[in-house]
Every structure is written in C-alpha cells, then in structure tokens.
C-alpha cells in the first residue's frame, strides 16, 4: 500500500510576476497534484520557466502566493525536499560527473551510494570520470538532471529536461519520471514539444502568462474535440480568442 498523501503538492494563487518590465505571469491560478507527472506546456515566452522559478523560490514575485508541500515557496524547510533542474545545465564544467554529484550530495547529506545510483539512473555510468565540459550537450543536461535527483526530493521541478536527447534516452527518462511518481514523488516537467504532452499524467497549458487549460491529456482532447495535442492547443487558443 502506498502511503496516504496530500492531494495537492503545489498551489499557485493569483501569481503575478514582472520580469524586465514585462508582465510574465498574469494573476495565474494553478494546482499541481501530488504523486503525478504534470507537464507544463506552452510556446516559448509563455512563462514556463518563470512559473518553475517561482515554485522553487528563486523568482521575485510581484503578488500572489505560491504554496509548495504546505510551505511558502522558497522557505528553508523546502530546500532539501525540492529538486530543481534549470534549462541550461547548471553544473561545474571543470569537474567530473562524479565530482559534481558528490558535491551536491554532500550539501544535501546524501550518501556516496546515492551518487552512483543517480549516475546509473541517467545512464552516465561510462562517463562518470569525465570532465563535464568535454561531454555532449545531452550528457551535460543529464548531469544537471542527476544533480536534481541526488537528494531524492519529494518534488522535482524540471525545466525542459529532455531537450536534445535521442528518442531512446527520452523514452528512458520518461519511464524514470513515471517510476518516481509511482514512488510518491511529484514531478513538474516543462516542455514546448507537444508530443511529450501525451506522456504526462496531467497537463497545464500555458499561454501568455495564463493557464489556457488544465487536465489529463484525454480530458483536454475531449474538451477541444481534437485527437492530436497540437490541434488541442490550437483549438483552445482559438476558443479563448473568440
């Protein structure tokens, strides 16, 4: 039996964020269910990264509230419970894969065993002693993902984690995401690729700083009366415009 868990992992209420003089999130309301893989989908510039930054507590917020695992976003109690993978790989290029992960593990109080485990999880076993700067872009992204995984956080916030990966690796990572959700973890994964949307349990469609629609892929297909999720998005945009 899985442990009983609270239904909502993240709650955003009337969230308003201004970046560089432009209103990026416009009084956004949204709830992210616990123990699921939730996809944040939307065209580039729709506010995905800003939304994720607000949830991990590094974004200066103009108004509204962000509640994460029952705490205000960014509070000290959350720092070992939330794993964040930024869009550009944020790891040390002059260190090896293992040195990088050892460092993040030590800060999180995770064991050396946990380091080897996450390296295997992201399929970097053969690259573990290589310096990150000498790796390919996709490999570097996976080091960054592993750094988010190493403390086994309850909430994983992943900003476009599968960009630039080949189909086999992408499939493997999506399997990993669902396996983590099976174990009670909550995952928030952003993407601008609609064909990844079908792999999520629930979807949040963002457009111009607002939630266009939210629901399971099937619910959204039914609502829009379209099969293909690209068509769903377009239908919903048109409906909103009308």
């Amino acid at each position: 039996m899985r442990e009983t868990r609270k239904l909502t992992a993240v709650r955003l209420e009337r969230l308003r964020v201004v970046r560089g003089g432009t209103l990026v999130l416009r009084d956004l309301d949204c709830e992210v269910p616990a123990g699921r893989v939730t996809g944040i989908l939307g065209p580039s510039g729709s506010g995905k990264t800003t939304l994720l930054r607000s949830i991990v507590g590094v974004q200066r917020v103009e108004a509204g509230t962000v509640t994460v695992l029952d705490h205000p976003a960014g509070t000290a109690a959350l720092r070992s419970r939330v794993g964040y993978m930024t869009q550009a790989p944020s790891v040390y290029g002059d260190l090896t894969v293992r040195e990088n992960l050892r460092f993040f593990a030590r800060i999180l109080g995770a064991s050396a065993h946990a380091v080897d485990e996450v390296i295997d999880r992201v399929s970097l076993h053969d690259e573990r002693a290589r310096v990150v700067n000498r790796l390919s872009g996709g490999q570097r992204a996976r080091v960054s993902l592993a750094a988010a995984l190493v403390g086994s956080p309850d909430l994983l916030v992943l900003d476009e984690p599968t960009v630039g990966l080949d189909p086999v690796l992408r499939r493997d990572l999506w399997e990993l995401f669902h396996e983590l959700a099976e174990h009670g973890k909550t995952l928030l994964v952003s993407s601008h690729v609609m064909d990844e949307a079908a792999r999520c349990d629930t979807l949040v469609l963002l457009r111009e700083g607002r939630v266009l629609a939210q629901g399971t892929p099937d619910e959204l297909r039914r609502e829009a009366g379209a099969d293909d999720l690209d068509a769903v998005f377009l239908a919903l945009v048109e409906r909103q415009a009308r």
Partner: protein, 244 residues
C-alpha cells in the same frame, strides 16, 4: 551555519583548482618571479629589497585572491550554479566560509613557497618572525577574496570582472605606503589612504619586517580583520536567493 556544507564547498573549490594546474603554477610562480626581479633590479641598493621584499610577499595573495574569487563567483552566477545552490540547504555564510577556507589554503601554499625562495635563495631578512609574514599573507588573501566577492556582483562578464582589479587593487597598492611614505603624502591622499584597508595590511607587514610589534601593529591587524569581515558581509548581501 553548517560545517558539512562549508567543507563541501571548500573541497569543491579545491577540486576545481586541482583540475587547473596552469592557474596553480601561475599563482605560485608569478610572485616568485617578481620577488627575484625585485632583488636583481635593486642589486645596487640591497636595502630597497630588504625594505619592500617582505611586505610585497604578504600583499601578493591579496591581489591573486581578489582576481581568483571575483572570477570564480562570476562564473558561479553566470552558469546558474549559484541559482541552484540557492535552492539547496546551503547558507550564504556556509558558501562564503567554504570559499574563504579554500582560498586561504591556496594563499598559505603560495606564501609558503614564496617565503622559502625569498628568505632562502634571495637572502631576505626580517626582524620579526617570518611565520607572522606568512600568517598576514593568509589574512590578506581572505581580505582580497572578500573584496573580490563583493565586486564580482557588479560585473556581468569576465572582461568587466578583470577590470575591477586595477580599479580596486592598484589605488590601494599605490596609496598604502609602499611607494611613498604616508607622512609625505598630500593631506587628502593621506586621508584616502586612511580609508583603504590595504594601508593597514601593508603597515602590519612593515612592522613585522622591522620587528616593532607595538600598539600600532595591533590596530593594523584589527582594522584589516574588520575590513575583511565588512567586505564579507557586503558580499553576502549581494547573494540573493530571489532574483528578478
């Protein structure tokens, strides 16, 4: 404050330095070269080398660590690793302490190697204990690191960060009393000199060289330590968990 987190940061910074042997060679080699040049340059007036050799030895780490810290911190900001660190259970003080420990260790190695050369082959002599020169050098490294950390917040690129070196370090070196005795400076220059931390660091070294450990020496050390703490505090204030 977490000792584990600070130790993790120090170990990481040292691992990064270890992967960059060329920088390490320069950090240790350049001061050796400069001390040797100084000795040869004033071969006709050996008292000049005896006068400035020890203070210079103690000031090298200030310059080196100012640069190394400002570039390292800038990289941390630009690469997004600082943002990641700010989401982790790592206090700002832990981060600063980790940096401080790593760069103080590097400064200790630098000062020790240069001392062996200067006090050995180059025949430099001091009236005060040589170990005090090395200890002050390590202290100056921390002061340089603290200032480098603070000024790195005002640079967006490595080009800009490097320019802060002549802007922040050179005036202090010129006004600290090494080139012109402070007593013979114009009043406004002496006031300026009074306001700069390196003046006190230099004065402490000069007192060690001449072996006059009076009240003035204690004041010098206290002011230099205070300035380092103030700069660290200002540096910590530039580390923001939330950014725009």
């Amino acid at each position: 404050m977490s000792r584990r987190a600070a130790a993790a940061v120090a170990a990481r910074v040292l691992a990064q330095l270890r992967r960059d042997p060329r920088t390490l060679t320069l950090v240790v080699g350049v001061p050796c070269l400069l001390e040797t040049l100084l000795k040869e340059l004033f071969s006709g007036q050996p008292h000049v080398f005896q006068h400035v050799g020890a203070p210079l030895l103690g000031l090298f780490p200030f310059v080196t660590m100012f640069l190394v810290t400002s570039i390292t911190m800038l990289r941390e900001r630009v690469s997004g690793t600082l943002e990641r660190l700010m989401t982790l259970p790592l206090g700002k003080l832990d981060l600063l302490a980790g940096y401080g420990i790593a760069f103080a260790l590097l400064a200790a190695v630098q000062a020790a190697v240069v001392s062996v050369l200067a006090f050995g082959a180059l025949g430099l002599e001091t009236n005060g204990p040589r170990v005090v020169v090395v200890a002050l050098a390590v202290g100056n490294a921390v002061l340089g690191s603290a200032l480098g950390l603070f000024f790195s917040a005002f640079a967006q690129t490595e080009f800009q960060a490097v320019q802060f070196m002549p802007a922040v370090v050179f005036p202090q070196v010129l006004l600290c009393g090494l080139f012109v005795v402070r007593g013979s400076m114009a009043t406004w220059l002496r006031w300026l000199s009074d306001a700069l931390p390196l003046t006190y660091a230099y004065d402490a070294l000069a007192h060690t060289a001449s072996g006059t450990f009076d009240g003035r020496f204690a004041v010098d050390v206290a002011v230099a330590v205070g300035a380092a703490l103030l700069a660290l505090g200002l540096g910590a204030a530039t580390l923001r968990r939330r950014t725009a």
